[in-house]
């Protein structure tokens, strides 16, 4: 079978090939080449299903940076397999859809490269066993999401949304990295499997690590109060929204929570935080979804809300770990099971809905529900898909959403009946909030279907006559809609082959035999079913009277919203950092030199003092010859003369005299390499000087106050003195073993007679390599600063 490591690398390789392929094949067909990747990976991963269902797991190792315990290790178990299948499965459908959705005028090569980057990164996230590798892939998903949101980068909204998404998720990513480092400190291992075994819940860092990890998960999965980035991310092309911002990337946070449940889950804070943040998000998302007029924004809020639902179920389920095996535990294992089930269901119905919205946008030219209506007869297939998707999301039978929604209700109700972690307030609060949120969910689901497809058709409000999408665009949503219905009728196929093995990864300490009931559509008239019926009745009534109570949305003033907080804090941060930067970036080379020299004095002089290295011994020194004395005198004279120079040419010449005498020194000391280098450097820099010379401002006598002059004098003398001390002390102290043995044997070790070059090219080649790269970056920096100044026209584009 295909190794998992290879599966992660394949999308990246494909992304490299696309630019080469792009010029060769017609623009319409590039998508079909891309399609091969997710389909092949999906099939390859699907072949693992039978063995994973038997409880098998696959660990493959690949050393990367062993000295830091960082290995490219992948671990395939039930949990990662579900995500892997979602990523590749939905990925395939999204690629098919995008082939028809994006016109060939767009820069398709960029689009598919970003998409493949994302796919590879996401697979990396779910399969990595090493924390650092996990982190790298995690941030890579944020970056590819940034690139995809800003795909139409000429739009201001797109750039705003992309930046917001990046800032939020990367902030969370850094919190997560901090948490990973704490975990490493606690357990001494980077492997997630080993961490589960080694973690000590009483360690001082346990709770901080947990909180920071959750910040990472909540930002990524758009949980309250970090959810604000997701609606703005909807500026991305619809296939991207369907793929990243509903089916896969936003679920990475949920994956993180699920993956680390065995590590932190037994702690009370974890249970509380995850479940209540989930419940709040569930309510806030669905409540805000109802007020949206843009169908995509509506779906964004609904995604937030549904993610909250899954999150809260994982939170509730984590209690199973502290309960141990027992009759009561079944409630919690069942919650985890429901979480996984709803996770898959959400991907199917939400994916279908996003694609339908894209079709509506494509066919009618708008996504605004105030302009849409009566599309049922014009777009019958889309209508059917939207109906299936929405009703499933609302939790109605016979669709898969009904099953997982019932299980959700059951979980919150039974949690309130048992006394875990001293639940008192939440006895009523959890089920009540969940129920209210579901009512709103029901309302916005009805809005999606009825406001778009029923009611009067308003052709005068549309740019062009609405029409059904081409068949190619319908393939993917139809497949998803079939899954939505199919899972309802055969839920246990999914349950037995995918969800149960995943349970073993989330709750490894429990014997799961008999702890998970098979999913059934009919389970008698229990509280959950009554709640669903209540949701339908109240939801219908509220939907019909929506005009009467819409006023509550204007109760919260604009300036109190989280969006406003985000915008204002960005402005403030920019202002503060601007002030801070302009405080020391004066624009004068003089100031910068002072900073550098002061740092030099502190760092080198400080080291000299602290290590006590200033012991001198002149006994073994060679006698000083006449040449040396003469050269030193010349240099001193030149050095003293530079500050007194009357014109700039004099100063440059004197500086040259210093440089060339230095070269002569190298000659006297028999270092021809250095002498040559010094000569050439001197020559080139004089040429540079000549180039700039003509454009430099007039040479003026410096009129600085006495104090500044005195300070500068002190600094320069200190720098000189420290240099002298260092030069004298070099031979005095030996802090570590000498490495000159390498250089003495250069001919045997590196095959070169010129020691200087064996040092540069072989012994210290790493330094040289980095220097070349730094030089290159510096060169590019000069080039971009001078050449690529934004023209006025580009400025205009920027402000669009």
């Amino acid at each position: 079978m295909l190794s998992v490591n290879l599966a992660i690398i394949i999308p990246f390789l494909a992304a490299v090939i696309i630019p080469l392929l792009y010029t060769k094949v017609s623009r319409n067909h590039i998508g079909w080449f891309v399609l091969i990747v997710p389909v092949v990976l999906f099939v390859a991963l699907a072949r693992y299903i039978p063995s994973v269902a038997q409880g098998a797991t696959y660990l493959s190792t690949m050393t990367w940076i062993p000295s830091y315990d960082i290995h490219f290790n992948t671990y395939l178990d039930g949990l990662s397999l579900i995500f892997g299948l979602l990523i590749t499965g939905i990925g395939s459908l999204v690629v098919i859809y995008s082939i028809y959705y994006l016109s060939s005028e767009e820069s398709l090569n960029h689009f598919y490269i970003y998409l493949l980057l994302f796919m590879g990164a996401m697979l990396g996230v779910v399969f990595s066993d090493n924390l650092m590798v996990f982190y790298v892939f995690w941030e890579l998903t944020s970056i590819s999401s940034f690139l995809l949101i800003a795909f139409w980068y000429h739009r201001k909204r797109s750039r705003y949304g992309a930046k917001k998404a990046l800032l939020t998720t990367v902030t969370g990513g850094i919190a997560m990295l901090t948490s990973f480092i704490m975990i490493y400190v606690m357990t001494g291992t980077m492997s997630i499997r080993e961490i589960i075994a080694d973690i000590d819940p009483n360690h001082m860092l346990f709770v901080p690590a947990m909180l920071l990890l959750l910040v990472g998960a909540f930002t990524k999965s758009a949980q309250f109060p970090f959810h604000i980035w997701l609606p703005d991310a909807m500026e991305a092309p619809t296939p991207v929204s369907a793929y990243l911002h509903s089916a896969t990337m936003v679920k990475a946070g949920i994956y993180l929570v699920a993956r680390f449940t065995p590590v932190f889950g037994s702690h009370e804070t974890w249970f509380w935080l995850v479940s209540s943040v989930g419940i709040i998000t569930l309510f806030w998302g669905s409540f805000n979804a109802v007020r949206q007029t843009d169908l995509k924004a509506l779906l964004a809020y609904s995604t937030i809300s549904q993610l909250g639902l899954v999150m809260s179920l994982f939170g509730i389920g984590s209690a199973a770990l502290s309960m141990g095996a027992g009759k009561e535990t079944v409630i919690y294992t069942q919650a985890t099971f429901a979480a996984l089930f709803h996770l898959v269901n959400h991907s199917t119905f939400k994916g279908a809905l996003f694609m339908v919205i894209g079709i509506v946008n494509h066919g009618a030219g708008t996504r605004d529900i105030r302009r849409l209506g009566g599309l049922m007869s014009l777009m019958p297939i889309s209508f059917t898909i939207a109906l299936i998707g929405s009703f499933s999301m609302a939790g109605l039978p016979p669709f898969n959403g009904f099953l997982s929604k019932e299980m959700f209700f059951e979980a919150v109700v039974s949690v309130s009946q048992t006394g875990i972690f001293s639940l008192h307030i939440s006895k009523v609060l959890f089920p009540a909030v969940a129920w209210i949120a579901s009512v709103f969910t029901f309302i916005y689901c009805m809005i999606i279907v009825f406001k778009t497809f029923l009611g009067p058709y308003q052709p005068e409000k549309l740019d062009h006559e609405a029409h059904e999408a081409p068949l190619g665009m319908l393939i993917s949503p139809i497949i998803l809609a079939i899954l939505v219905v199919g899972i309802f009728f055969f839920p246990n196929v999914l349950g037995d082959y995918l969800l149960r093995p995943a349970m073993a990864s989330i709750l490894p300490s429990l014997q799961l035999e008999g702890m998970v009931k098979p999913i059934s559509a009919w389970h008698g008239f229990n509280t959950a079913l009554l709640m669903t019926i209540g949701v339908i009745v109240i939801g219908t009534l509220l939907y019909l009277s929506i005009r009467r109570w819409k006023g509550i949305y204007s109760l919260l003033p604009e300036k109190w919203t989280l969006d406003n907080l985000y915008n204002n804090s960005l402005i403030q941060i920019e202002k503060i950092s601007n002030r801070l930067t302009s405080f020391y970036m004066t624009g004068h080379l003089r100031s910068y030199s002072i900073y550098i020299f002061l740092f030099f004095i502190a760092a080198v002089g400080g080291t000299l003092l602290l290590t006590g290295a200033y012991s001198f011994d002149f006994a073994g020194d060679a006698a000083i010859s006449v040449y040396e004395v003469v050269l030193v005198l010349i240099m001193i004279a030149a050095g003293l003369a530079i500050p007194m120079a009357k014109s700039r040419v004099n100063a440059i010449l004197l500086n040259g005299a210093l440089g060339y005498s230095m070269a002569l020194f190298f000659v006297v000391f028999r270092a021809p390499d250095l002498a040559l280098t010094q000569l050439v450097v001197e020559t080139v820099s004089t040429a540079l000087f000549l180039l700039c010379f003509y454009y430099l401002p007039e040479w003026k006598k410096e009129n600085a106050p006495r104090r500044t002059k005195r300070n500068n004098l002190i600094i320069s003398i200190a720098v000189g003195a420290i240099f002298v001390l260092v030069a004298l002390a070099v031979r005095g102290g030996k802090l570590f073993e000498t490495i000159s043995g390498y250089f003495e044997n250069a001919y045997e070790l590196a095959g070169g007679k010129n020691i200087v070059n064996t040092i540069l090219g072989d012994f210290r080649a790493f330094d040289t390599m980095l220097e070349v790269i730094v030089l290159f970056i510096g060169g590019l920096g000069v080039y971009t600063l001078i050449k690529l100044k934004a023209t006025k026209e580009e400025q205009k584009l920027e402000d669009q």
């Binding site: 070059n757 290159f776 060169g779």
Partner: protein, 140 residues
């Protein structure tokens, strides 16, 4: 501003070849006697700078249609790539190899992978120096 610099141009035409020969010599001899990629590259760059000073940049760029940013990039790439090559042989990053070969004209010659590395250094230096000088001189 038109300056009559016949002397400079005539001298340059001859001197450039001497400098270029010198640059190649320095580069090749680097392993066993003074020289090497850095100096070789710098001398080569100074030859180009001399050309730019003696004639105007447009004339020279027409004759040497090289994008020096690309030259620098290729140089940086080569230095990294020679280092990475050793990874494929499962030996530490940037390990070098050398051996002696009897070539027809040159006799016993040392061949070392470090030469490729130095080539990268040289190209990087030439590319960067010329890019900087060209950007500054063309800006004004």
């Amino acid at each position: 501003m038109k300056i009559n610099d016949v002397i400079l141009q005539t001298v340059t035409k001859i001197v450039v070849f001497i400098i270029l020969t010198m640059a190649v010599y320095l580069f090749v001899s680097g392993h066993n006697s003074p020289g090497g990629g850095f100096i070789g590259g710098l001398v080569l760059a100074s030859a180009l700078v001399l050309l730019f000073l003696a004639f105007d940049t447009e004339t020279i760029m027409k004759r040497i249609p090289l994008d020096f940013k690309m030259v620098a990039a290729v140089g940086a790439f080569i230095t990294v790539a020679t280092g990475a090559a050793s990874l494929f042989l499962d030996i530490p990053f940037l390990s070098h190899a050398y051996s002696y070969v009897n070539l027809p004209v040159f006799g016993k010659t040392g061949l070392a992978t470090v030469t490729i590395f130095e080539l990268g250094v040289a190209l990087g230096v030439v590319g960067v120096v010329v890019t900087i000088i060209l950007s500054i001189s063309e800006d004004v």
